[in-house]
Point group: C2
Chain length 80, copies 2
């Protein structure tokens, strides 16, 4: 079973890395970018056969390791 976990910063949390990318894009002459926020994505393979079990394991993984829930949101998608 394959899954994708996306971890993004919560609204209101400053993202200096995103700001730096925004500045770099502008320096490169790429116009029209008004905001960038960077997050992380994890492509995970699991041996579970039940999607519910896989999702529960991944939520546990997010809460305990993959995301800092004070400043980050996470989203779990079961792909196949």
């Amino acid at each position: 079973m394959k899954a994708r976990v996306t971890v993004t910063l919560k609204n209101g949390v400053l993202d200096p890395q995103g700001k730096a990318i925004e500045g770099a894009l502008s320096s490169l002459g790429i116009e029209g970018v008004t905001g960038v926020r960077q997050g992380k994505v994890f492509d995970i393979e699991l041996s579970h056969t039940q999607p519910e079990a896989a999702e529960a394991a991944l939520k546990d993984a997010c809460e305990r390791l993959l995301a800092n829930t004070v400043i980050e949101n996470y989203r779990v998608e079961i792909l196949s």
Copy 2:
């Protein structure tokens, strides 16, 4: 206009960060994870009004800054 760019390692490229996460999940007692690969996600706001123009600008941004196309794939999604 909002868009999401996802940058992931190509198949066959080693991902020590993913391996470390896999080991950490196992140490935490989260069972059933057989593979982890980490990538990056960029949530981008653009002032373009045409989706085609936004997509072209983002592909340019990926080729020149956001992705290392030797080892990484990228995917551009226009969200709204």
